[in-house]
């Protein structure tokens, strides 16, 4: 049994989806030519002044409320001073002692200690504060130095800081997954880690089981995916455990994760840490947020993932597993609801969507966002199965054609003449042939091995190119053999 307990806290930086930057009117468009989305304000030119974009505040309040946090009644900004070429004013406008929201929580699903159950765990959210993003250094293809692209400078960020309530790398992964899902539902961020609209730093320490005091913490940076967070934490826990077991001390420091090497490396020690000299930003006048404003934002909150899972379970009678799988991926859940709205059976849609459609798309390496089968197309296919026009087996052949040929299910069924045969006389005729051709199997059935009827049904289907109603074939065979 492991002697040590791990303590993890996460700091997540979320780029908020505003049209313009947090303190100027420049576009937040990702992927523009370098330094196109800049002006005297976000370039920090001498004499320029920031003006608060209230849209960023509205989005930050949405996140705060969704995390059950308290929203500050007074909005104040501070300057965080440090030198780096991507920071054009040599200070970042941030919030120091009065974050826009504080004391929230995020409920995640984790394995129970026994490992057999899934239980809910509450992770405290210390605070979430607004700040401006910095620019980006470009080193590639530059001889003798670096270029700086300030397009990202001044894009609004919300830094969400968790309490050190996480105990396992898997929990950290689950926290990020759940948080991202909420942010997507709130429509406040693209949460795209590759484009940097979601970034995460992890704080991790270990302590002997039962110790009340926290161990020395190490901060890990340069985590470019949720998996990287998990892997870096696993590595770091092992490293720290080995150090402690050798009787060595853990240094308080910031370490960088090297994805290629699968290791963390020391970036700077506590002694080298910056003194940011925070002080109130004199260029932005603090202002108050009324309770009414908070209530207006609260009332406009969309349905959040947890509530949607509940609704899917209750209204559509989906299993917890299916509901969770659908809801965690908002576009998928929206697609599902659009199908169900066409009046087809939810459970059937869930199966056809999650297993068949996703499977077929994956095989073809098509991202779900580029799925050519519209929700009404899939609903139409499911309806054909429901009303017996085609069998499920035929439907499995129809769906790939819908993707590849971009045709509707009805059209494919008509063109290929796949309509299920429900003509009992015709099926009876084939059943008779199959019974005659398989005396041994018939014998087995009659001697009590009733499951061998499956083989005979299969033979009927094969004879009829899969178009026979399996239900009818089964009934007729049973009658004839019985």
């Amino acid at each position: 049994m492991n002697m040590y307990e791990t303590v993890i806290g996460l700091e997540t930086h979320v780029q908020l989806k505003t049209k313009s930057k947090i303190f100027c009117a420049c576009s937040t468009q990702f992927g523009s030519e370098p330094n196109v989305n800049t002006c005297p304000v976000c370039l920090g030119l001498p004499g320029s002044l920031p003006v608060m974009n209230k849209e960023a505040l509205a989005l930050a309040m949405k996140v705060g409320l969704a995390l059950n946090a308290q929203i500050a009644s007074r909005i104040k900004f501070d300057r965080k001073n440090y030198f780096y070429p991507d920071l054009p004013k040599a200070y970042q406008i941030s919030q120091y002692d009065m974050p826009v929201s504080s004391k929230g929580e995020l409920v995640i699903e984790v394995k129970s200690p026994s490992g057999s159950d899934v239980i809910k765990k509450r992770i405290g959210i210390t605070r979430a504060h607004l700040e401006e993003d910095a620019g980006k250094l470009l080193h590639e293809g530059v001889k003798d130095g670096s270029w700086v692209d300030y397009n990202r400078g001044g894009v609004p960020l919300l830094e969400i800081v968790s309490e050190p309530d996480l105990r396992l790398p898997e929990e950290a992964y689950e926290y990020l997954h759940t948080l991202k899902s909420i942010l997507i539902y709130l429509d406040v961020s693209d949460c795209n880690m590759e484009e940097g609209s979601l970034r995460c730093d992890a704080n991790v320490s270990i302590r002997k089981n039962g110790d009340a005091k926290l161990g020395t913490k190490v901060e890990i940076k340069n985590l470019n995916s949720f998996k990287a967070v998990q892997k870096a934490l696993q590595y770091e826990i092992k490293r720290q455990t080995e150090l402690v077991e050798r009787g060595e001390r853990i240094r308080q420091e910031t370490r960088l994760w090297d994805e290629g090497k699968g290791q963390t490396f020391s970036m700077r020690s506590k002694e080298e840490a910056h003194d940011y000299r925070y002080f109130p930003e004199p260029d932005l006048v603090p202002f108050t947020v009324s309770r009414e404003q908070v209530e207006t934002v609260r009332k406009a909150l969309p349905e959040l993932p947890q509530a949607r899972i509940e609704r899917f379970r209750k209204t559509f009678e989906l299993s917890e597993y299916d509901a969770y799988a659908l809801v965690s991926d908002k576009p998928l859940a929206d697609y599902f609801e659009a199908c169900v709205a066409k009046g087809v059976h939810p459970k059937l849609v869930s199966n056809w969507l999650q297993t068949e459609l996703i499977g077929a798309l994956n095989e073809r390496k098509i991202d779900f966002t580029k799925n050519p089968v519209s929700a009404s197309d899939l609903a139409a296919l499911v309806r054909l199965i429901e009303n017996g026009t085609i069998s499920g087996k035929i439907a499995k052949d129809v769906l790939p054609l819908m993707i590849d040929e971009k045709k509707s299910a009805d059209m494919i069924v008509k063109e290929k003449n796949l309509v299920q045969v429900t003509d009992e006389k015709l099926i009876e005729k084939v059943c008779d042939q199959v019974i005659a051709a398989n005396p041994k199997v018939v014998e087995q059935y009659r001697s009590g091995k009733t499951q061998s009827i499956g083989f005979l049904v299969g033979q009927v289907m094969k004879e009829m190119q899969g178009k026979a109603s399996p239900k009818l074939a089964n009934e007729i065979l049973a009658r004839k053999l019985g």
């Binding site: 920031p50 300057r79 000299r277």
Partner: protein
Amino acid sequence: MELHKLTLKQAAEFSKANPQNAKELFNALKARAKAIDSKVKAYLSLIEKEPSFETKGILAGVPISIKDNICIEGCETTCGSKILKGYVPPYDATVIKKLKAAGAFIVGKCNMDEFAFGSSNESSAFGPVHNPWDLTRVPGGSSGGSAASVAADEAIAALGSDTGGSIRQPASFCSAVGIKPTYGRVSRYGLVAFGSSLDQIGPITKTVEDAAILLGVIAGHDPHDSTSANLPVPDYTKSLVKDVKGLKIGLPKEYFVKGLDPDVEQAVRKAVKIYQDLGAKIVEISLPHTSYAVHIYYIVATAEASSNLGRFDGVRYGFRAQSSNLSDMYLKTRDEGFGAEAKRRILLGTFVLSAGYYDAYYLRGLKARTLLKQDFEKAFEQVDLILSPTAPTPPFKLGEKVDDPISMYLSDIYTISANLAGVPAISIPGGFSKELLPIGIQLMAKPFAEETIFRAAYAFEQATDFHKKKPTL
């Protein structure tokens, strides 16, 4: 007619008549500057390109000089510092936009203490300005170039900036009118920041009327400056009535203490007498936290300055020292680019904000600032105006205080409080010392009571001849 001697009011009337007049005036000022600025050194650069001469707008055809910390699109803006040598802003400050919209044009950029750090103009990286009244003396600072350009008739009027007295003290030293408006009255957008919670742009002019006209043009709410007040701008010229009957003027007892030059004190006493004769009521008041003002100022202003000046790092614009790596570039650029006073203030400001010292210095400074502000709130429950010297002495000799920063800092003792409290304050010519050096009188009022200031300043000016005297150059 000597065109360069015109007041702003006269110049506007003259230029409005026809574009030819405006051109004549512009050329007259340029000629004047070319003739005498080698002695005064008020300008860092003159606008060479002839403007298009407008006849529309209340300042149509009026040439104005601008302190070199206010951005003008396409014109080098150095703040008197080597670190910004060659920097050309791509945008106009809001005050420049307003001046241009009113038809004014810019004669040149005025010399100043480096980043407005100073009270003598000697900290300019490009050499000091000389006082037009005595070329061996300082013009005051930091808007020394602006004040000298007006006093020497090298500009019809000027814009300066005032963080702790930088408009009023040079106005006092040069016998000009200089007003620091209420914090928030004039947009700071485009003013290179020194102490962001203290800085205000304001006019330096030959007469009170000129100051009232010019402030009316540059004041007002600016959506680009969150600290600018969203209040209507009154017509300040309507306050120019020769009547102070019934006005209550306070004299802070804490202001008449050791260190006040006897000639200055005498001028202030005379001013009090004039106001009494004009029918104002003089009341002794108390501003109990006065003795802390300089201390508070050098905490708050340097803290903000240390942060505001971080951006001058050699990465994007201005001066960059040759270096082999990033940290070297920062260190060398800032070491070679900033002068001694700038470094002193950056170090002070960095210190008071540092972990472990923040509470003892910066936070206490902020609390003390609140107390000082309350002194003024209480005083203005009693009186309409506070009268005081602008500076404790007449202009001192060049080099006299360069090596004594504390003594230099004390020359702002009467002006600093108005910035800390955010109240408007004016300096008007109040006479001359035995050595015939200018002395200024300061009037302060409650926030946004610039009209009261103009009313009293105008009445005093009309009752005296000090503003009519010109230096011999």
